[in-house]
Amino acid sequence: MRHQLATFKLDDCLYGIDVSRVQEALRMQAHTPVPHAPKGVAGLVNLRGQVVLLVDLRVRLGREAFGEDDEPMMMVVKVDGEPVSLLVDQVGDVLEIDASRYGSPPPTLEPALRDFVTGVYSLDDDLLLALDVDLAAQV
């Protein structure tokens, strides 16, 4: 059995999300900040007439928030049927990986990631962290 994963980079780490959860990947768009929003909410964005929440995944994963000069990309995922846009450094390819390469996360995984990473795929030259989308997108 093979798993299809949409991948993206964040701080040189490679992450993967089950491809069926991903609606689309887009370049960063103009967004509206939301005063008093919980940490990790980067704002609201107009996605073809729909108001979509923008989540700064860096903040969610315990990193420093995206700054003014960064040019993140948006990965729009479906959570409870509603689109949520995740801000990531760089959207990568869709990979098809054999299920046998999947394993539980290594104990060395940093604590900030532990809650969000459900497992690890060992690639030939890299590790792919499988992200729990629901948890990551839920602010």
Binding site: A30, H31, T32, P33, V34, P35, H36, A37, P38, V41, G43, L44, V45, N46, G49, Q50, V51, V52, L53, E82, V84, Q138, V139
Partner: protein, 738 residues
């Protein structure tokens, strides 16, 4: 009589629909023998028709459906198997019912259709008679072996025709023969799933947003053709919006119709004598809104009888008629629906309220001492406040007006109360016409845009260079507005934005929320536009400051402020100010007499009355175009005409009759045309918002409506450059003739 017709009509429409369903259900039953759900559905339909026809006195119809029901009951209860003969006889019954309905629809009566054969046929099946044996009476039970293609044809009612049942031709087609000019009930109304209407409304909402986008692009490009096309689009979008809204509208009477009984019961149980007056029953509201106000309305009515209207002996002693009057009134005003519940009872004593609030520990004695009566009444809306001396089963269980307020808040409405001791109390609900599309004001705060629902807005004021009117109570700024101090809340503080350096140039949006007033300080006002509230993620909703988000013309997302929530947040910020914020002080502030005219459907323009010479009415055709400019002949002179609709950027619309405002100076005059003269009011014009376009000084609020303040001097000079050259001495009399 009319009401009766209405009932019959509804009955006919409903029954026709059910019969269509029945036809297919019965046919389906043949293949799905014994399907419980199908049988139940068929049974219910016939049962309903039987019940209603009995109630309406349609004996023949009741007779037919009665036997049919018996047969169906046996089928449903499994006492009998569905076979072709049963199906046939049931279909015959359906046809018979349809025919009777046709007669009822056409004449209002059943007519003299003979139903005995059908009844007998069904009875025969019921009694278990063999099909072939059922010759004469059950002739119609043996029609076509195949299901009748034209159902109406099979049952030609008259026994003679029933003798040759296989022939579809003999059908006299009674309904077709009576091809009356009036559309039949089924044609003139259809039932539509509310889902469909909701979807339509959402699409119209999107269209409104797209139109807003077009309008802002057109304004930028300044291409006449584009502007023209956009105006047309705007017009059509508006009409469509109104049309779709209309489909969702229901008269308030749908809720009110239950009130008389309720009032009767409550007053009887409390020993009160109450006359109920209902005015404006036909006032229409969005069905969603209607649903939402049901409970608050009920509560207010109970409350009015329980706490408002006194017992007869008390009333007589107070010199009032023993019978109290409860008045429900509904009307449309400025894009909102106003619902009043008024009683002529004992009124609410502000002191009793204040005392109770202190007693309940909701406010301190010092807090309430300085409150104006109007503000005291707001205490009624506090959770945990109930003034009932004793708890009754009708009202007063400690859950009170706060529940009403919460419900009204939830649909973006506002509730307030006016009361005079010994005279009576009026509760007033202001409810938006629809929940889907709302008029809003867009404001800027720290370079970000926010939308404020118009329903919360009372007026707009600009702070001038000298900060006239701004005072400080401790640290907190207040604004002296027509003699009262208005607490100021800076949106920048509420939203945690860069603090404001100076108040100069800021705009105060006077807001009405939670029954109180406060001034919301914003950087400036952008526009008024119709917005569509889009659902927002729970993460944003949970912040508790935003009612939703919307898209502006430029496609950007804008948060809609939840004004009552902002008020509460601000209150937390400003605890220090205390309750003396609204202390009444001497009346100050210069006011000016303003003439208010309406332009188009919903715009108002104000101009200083002092510069107006005369008000006239003329038919539209007095206007003439001379080399591109509008003129009219007025008192023997060619007078330049300014169409206020154009000043407002609306384009000229056709009007049967014009309201003409004439400004005259010496022998020169300029005419301004509008739709209607609305009023002449006193108002403070320095309390205005920012400049919003050529010929306009900004906007003010007059009686709760945004009104553009016309720069009359510039407008007149633009129409006639030499107007002000005329001799001052020859100024003609001021505005007394109208």
């Amino acid at each position: 009589m009319d009401a009766m017709d209405e009932i019959v009509r509804e009955f006919v429409v409903e029954s026709y629909e059910n019969l269509d369903q029945l036809d297919s259900d019965l046919v389906a039953l043949e293949s799905e023998v014994g399907s419980r759900s199908l049988l139940s559905s068929v049974f219910r339909t016939i049962h309903t028709i039987k019940g209603t026809s009995g109630f309406l006195g349609f004996g023949a119809l009741e007779g037919v459906t009665h036997v049919g029901e018996s047969l169906l009951a046996e089928l449903r209860d499994g006492k009998r198997e569905m076979d072709q003969r049963t199906t046939d006889v049931l279909l015959t019954m359906v046809d018979c019912v349809r025919e009777i309905l046709g007669a009822i629809e056409a004449t209002g009566a059943e007519g003299d259709l003979d139903t005995t054969t059908v009844v007998a046929a069904i009875q025969a099946v019921l009694d278990g008679e063999e099909a072939p044996a059922a010759e004469a009476p059950a002739a119609s039970s043996a029609p076509a072996p195949v299901l009748p293609a034209k159902p109406a044809a099979v049952l030609p009612a008259a026994p003679a025709a029933a003798a040759e049942p296989v022939e579809p031709e003999p059908a006299p087609e009674p309904t077709a023969a009576e091809e009356a000019p009036v559309r039949s009930a089924t044609e003139s109304s259809i039932r539509v799933d509310v889902e469909v209407l909701d979807a339509l409304m959402r699409h119209v909402g999107e269209l409104v947003l797209a139109r807003n986008a077009m309008t802002s692009i057109a304004a930028e490009l300044d291409d006449p053709a584009l502007v023209h096309a956009t105006q047309r689009l705007a017009l059509i979008a508006t009409e469509l919006q109104q049309g779709v809204m209309k489909t969702r509208m229901q008269p308030i009477d749908n809720v009110w119709s239950k009130v008389p009984r309720m009032v009767r019961d409550i007053s009887a149980s409390l020993g009160r004598q109450v006359r109920l007056d209902m005015i404006g029953k036909e006032t229409e509201l969005d069905r969603g809104v209607l649903e939402a106000i049901k409970d608050p309305l009920t509560h207010l009515i109970r409350n009015a009888i329980d706490h408002g209207i006194e017992a007869p002996e008390q009333r007589t002693a107070a010199g009032k008629p023993a019978q109290g009057v409860l008045t429900l009134r509904a009307y449309h005003q400025g894009g909102q629906v106003v619902i009043e519940i008024a009683d002529d009872g004992k009124g609410i004593d502000p002191q009793a309220i204040a005392a109770k609030a202190v007693e309940r520990g909701l406010r301190s004695a010092a807090d309430v001492a300085d409150l104006a009566p109007q503000d005291v009444f707001q205490l009624l809306f506090l959770p945990g406040f109930s003034t009932a001396e004793k708890v009754t089963h009708v009202s007063g269980r400690g859950v009170g007006m706060d529940v009403v307020k919460t419900k009204v808040d939830a649909i973006g409405g506002v509730v307030d109360v006016q009361s005079t001791v010994g005279v009576g109390t009026t509760w007033r609900l202001r409810i938006p016409l629809t929940l889907a599309i709302m008029p809003a004001l867009t404001v800027e705060c720290a370079a970000e845009t926010y939308a404020i629902p118009q329903i919360n807005l009372l007026e707009l004021l600009a702070i001038d260079d000298k900060q006239t009117g701004v005072e400080y109570v401790g640290e907190a700024p207040v604004f002296r507005l027509r003699g009262r101090l208005l607490p100021l809340v800076d949106l920048r503080d509420v939203l945690d934005r860069t603090p404001r350096e100076s108040l100069v140039g800021a705009v105060i949006a006077v807001m009405h929320a939670d029954g109180g007033r406060f001034g919301l300080l914003v950087d400036h006002v952008r526009n008024t536009e119709e917005i569509v509230a889009k659902p927002i993620s729970a993460a944003v909703k949970g912040i508790g400051l935003y009612a939703g988000a919307t898209l502006l013309g430029d496609g950007s997302v804008t948060l809609i402020l939840d004004i009552p929530a902002v008020a509460r947040r601000a209150l937390e910020l400003q605890e220090a100010i205390g309750d003396d914020r609204e202390a009444v002080v001497a009346e100050t502030g210069a006011t000016e007499q303003m003439l208010i005219v309406s332009v188009g459907e919903d715009r108002q323009v104000a101009m200083p009355m002092g510069m107006v010479t005369r008000l006239e009415r003329f038919p539209m055709d007095v206007l003439e175009r001379v080399s591109g400019s509008l003129v009219m002949q007025y008192r023997g002179r060619i007078t330049p005409v300014v169409d206020l609709a154009q000043i407002l950027g609306m384009g000229t619309t056709f009007r049967e009759e014009l309201a003409v405002v004439v400004c005259q100076r010496g022998d020169r005059s300029v005419a301004l045309v509008a739709d209607e003269v609305v009023d002449i009011v006193e108002c403070a014009t320095e309390d205005r918002s920012e400049v919003s376009g050529f010929g306009l000084l900004g906007s003010i609020i007059v009686r709760g409506r945004v009104t553009e303040l016309l720069d009359l001097e510039t407008t007149v000079r633009d129409a006639d450059a030499r107007f002000y050259d005329a001799q001052d001495a020859e100024l003609v009399g001021v505005g007394s003739e109208h």
